[in-house]
């Protein structure tokens, strides 16, 4: 998501390294770089102007501590100011109380319906809520079908009345939820333009007739400078309590994230990071800035792993590793765990220094992993536990069975051997991390 922005900013910072101290002359070049980086990321023009002025003033005014180099000082200022732009603290969704009702609104195609599914799934898992959806998009063809399919997949009930009056449907839906002991209601609404008075007043009516805990604007992270008009347009009519940024798994530089809080004071609460129904993350300004500046985000990685990886299986694997009898059967199990973590490129981006190693823009074809899996699955149980027995004729059979080539089978076996060697070194204590 923000990698390209981060790269540009890091380039600007690199230029400072050569200077003994920050002066009026040398900083103007650097600030020009910073400014271009932010504008290319679609950060709002006004925000860019204020931000670059503040950073410049602070950098010039800063008493450089003897222990810090000018580039370190500059990075610190950049980091603090970026965090300020993003709103410093994480602001969670309102989940207290017996019944919580949220309404999701936004332009056409911003991803409201998919986000409803993700949100229901996420809140059920995290807060043990019993969610229900209300289908109030009565305009777009098949919008109700879409929500029903998502509900079916997640096993979440969808209240719908076909193409009726959205305000009435929402009211009756909430009554239904109360009678049936649901404690989380998510209302899906039709996409609309913020300048469409008729449709905007429909949302106001829902807002007035139902006690909403959250009114959330869903924003496409690829939006350009018009984002501010849209956000202000919706906020004027509805008093938004938060936003969810979608499609952050694209290669957008996501400048809208840097603009929305600063200009409107509306917090970003969650971000959408894949098309899958578990592709939603909390938005934490401090961690996000870490990612932008290439410092990685180990906390998110650990949390992600903890929520997905089967603890028992992991313990078993660790035990085997320490004994040194790790075989391809175990490797297969780990591959499956890794697959659960989602797209690998998203995981790599969370590693500190990923961008320095050129790993941040890496594109991993999930088919590559599938091929490795196919190769192992084409082995017999005996072969998986004793890969040493795999010789020429077995290799040909495995390659045929998995639709790959003998070279690919060889490559996998070599990698396995290397891994095993590394593990032996770890066990004997002679192992040093390569970084």
């Amino acid at each position: 998501m923000f990698e390209n922005l981060g790269e540009r900013l890091q380039k600007a910072v690199k230029n400072i390294r050569g200077y003994g101290k920050i002066t009026e002359e040398n900083i103007s070049d650097i600030m020009r770089e910073v400014r271009m980086a932010l504008l290319e990321a679609d950060v709002n023009y006004q925000v860019v102007k204020e931000f670059t002025n503040t950073v410049k003033d602070k950098a010039l005014g800063e008493e450089v501590q003897r222990s810090l180099s000018p580039s370190e000082v500059f990075v610190k200022i950049l980091k603090d100011e970026l965090i300020k732009l993003l709103g410093e603290d994480k602001i969670p969704l309102k989940t207290d109380g017996k019944l919580n009702i949220y309404m999701l609104v936004g332009l056409q195609g911003s991803g409201k319906t998919t986000t409803i599914g993700k949100l229901g799934n996420y809140l059920r898992k995290k807060y043990h809520k019993k969610p229900m959806f209300i289908a109030c998009d009565v305009y777009r063809p098949a919008a109700i079908d879409q929500l029903k399919q998502i509900g079916k997949e997640l096993n979440i009930f969808v209240y719908e009345e076909g193409k009726g009056n959205p305000v009435e449907i929402a009211k009756k839906g909430v009554e239904y939820a109360k009678e049936n002991n649901y404690d989380l209601v998510l209302i899906d609404t039709a996409g609309r333009l913020h300048i469409d008075d008729e449709l905007m007043s429909e949302l106001s009516s829902i807002n007035e007739s139902i006690p909403l805990d959250e009114t959330i604007l869903v924003i496409d992270a690829m939006m350009g400078q018009d984002a501010i008009n849209v956000i202000e347009g919706f906020n004027d009519k509805l008093k938004l309590t938060g936003t969810i940024l979608t499609k952050l798994d694209s290669d957008t530089r996501g400048g809208v994230a840097l603009s929305v809080r600063h200009l409107t004071n509306i917090p970003i609460k969650l971000i959408g990071v894949s098309e899958k129904l578990d592709g939603i993350d909390e938005f934490d300004p401090k961690r996000m800035v870490g990612r932008i500046l290439g410092e990685g985000d180990i906390m998110s990685l650990i949390e992600k792993a903890e929520s997905i990886i089967d603890e028992e299986e992991a313990k078993e694997a660790a035990k085997k590793l320490s004994r040194g009898d790790f075989n391809l059967e175990d490797f297969l199990g780990q591959l499956k765990q890794i697959k659960k973590l989602g797209p690998l490129e998203n995981i790599i981006k969370l590693l500190p220094g990923a961008s320095k190693l050129g790993l941040n823009n890496i594109n991993i074809d999930p088919k590559q992993l599938a091929r490795i899996e196919a190769i192992i699955l084409s082995m017999t149980k005996k072969e998986r536990t004793n890969p040493e027995i795999i010789k020429a004729s077995r290799k040909i059979r495995i390659a045929k069975g998995s639709g790959t080539s003998v070279q690919e089978v060889n490559r996998l076996l070599t990698q396995y051997e290397q891994m095993k060697k590394m593990m032996k070194m770890m066990k004997s204590g002679n192992f040093k991390l390569p970084f």
């Binding site: 271009m36 063809p141 399919q149 350009g224 400078q225 018009d226 694209s250 530089r253 074809d365």
Partner: protein, 325 residues
């Protein structure tokens, strides 16, 4: 400045109704954009650094690519110096002139579709998620049907929940047959079957929907390249047009979208949707400059007839109307 006069003449001659459509659709767009230029002109009578900075601001707010704007500003400053311009009011014409040049760039641009004379004309629609591919297909199909053509829609989005239902519902509304497969079916096979139907039943036009995909997803872009190949295997030279659908609210990412989709398929034109909001869709100027793909249609609303052929002259006219008159 000859271009500018030619430009004015074009409007005198062209169909007034046509201009009106652009005019209404872009009125909100124009309002913000133009208000700001006017304020700028009354604020600065003389060309100062502040004037240029604010002009740059206005162009960037229109989402015209950052690099495009920076080059544009350089050229503008050059011309101001060379032609000894001191008054801001004189600069308006040059601004329009230069914007026009960015888009046209000495090429001949037509928004006409490339029809196939022997057999069905196949048009493939691609783009990121939520830009309005399916709605655009319905609108173009509606136009073709009203021209007396026999149109088949292929539901190539087998991934998103409700996508097949959506295109079928549109098909019923506009009276077009829809070829569809099961959800989660391989899109290439659905498209293969659909094209067979088109050949057997002698359809004039085939419009193929595809699932929205982010341009940085390697596997999904490979899938698209495969779809493109399958189409060409059944009907040589097809697809005859590949439309990249772009949302007018898109920022700088539009350029990345255009580049990546052009690598996977042979994108021949852009449909710029949702221009009825406040977004200006200026990124199409950046795209034209960087990747040389012209805009063929613009979407101005949710109704089936809210689609118009793109015309750069009218587009810029729509943005600058008050200034020209």
């Amino acid at each position: 400045m000859g271009l500018f006069n030619k430009f004015k003449d074009i409007f005198k001659k062209s169909n007034i109704d046509d201009i009106k459509v652009y005019d209404q659709g872009l009125s909100k767009t124009r309002k913000t954009f133009f208000d700001r230029l006017n304020v700028l002109n009354s604020k600065y009578k003389k060309l100062t650094d502040e004037y240029f900075e604010e002009l740059e601001n206005i162009l960037i707010m229109a989402d015209i690519g950052v690099n495009t704007v920076m080059d544009f500003m350089d050229r503008l400053r050059d011309r101001v110096k060379k032609e000894n311009i001191t008054d801001t009011s004189m600069l308006n014409e040059i601004i329009i002139d230069e914007l026009f040049i960015i888009y046209v760039d000495e090429g001949v641009i037509s928004s006409k579709l490339n029809y196939n004379d022997n057999g069905p004309t196949v048009i493939l629609f691609v783009g990121v998620n939520g830009v309005g591919k399916t709605t655009t297909i319905a609108k173009i199909a509606h136009q073709m049907i009203s021209e007396g053509k026999k149109v088949l829609l292929i539901a190539g989005d087998t991934f998103r929940a409700g996508a097949v239902e959506q295109i079928i519902e549109w098909g019923n509304k506009i009276g077009a047959k829809v070829a569809s497969g099961k959800i989660d079916a391989d899109p290439s096979s659905v498209i293969y079957d659909g094209l067979k139907v088109a050949l057997d039943e002698e359809y004039d036009c085939v419009l193929i929907d595809t699932a929205g995909r982010l341009q940085n997803k390697v596997n999904l872009m490979n899938e698209l390249a495969k779809i493109n190949k399958v189409i060409g295997n059944i009907i040589p030279d097809a697809p005859h047009e590949t439309m990249l659908v772009i949302d007018a609210t898109t920022g700088q990412n539009g350029i990345s979208q255009a580049k990546s989709f052009k690598e996977a398929t042979n994108v021949t034109g852009i449909v710029l949707t949702k221009l009825d909001g406040t977004a200006k869709g200026g990124i199409v100027l950046g795209i034209k400059e960087a990747v040389n793909i012209p805009v063929k249609y613009i979407g101005l609303g949710e109704k089936v007839d809210d689609l118009k052929p793109f015309d750069i002259e009218k587009y810029i006219y729509g943005l600058f109307k008050e200034m020209v008159e």
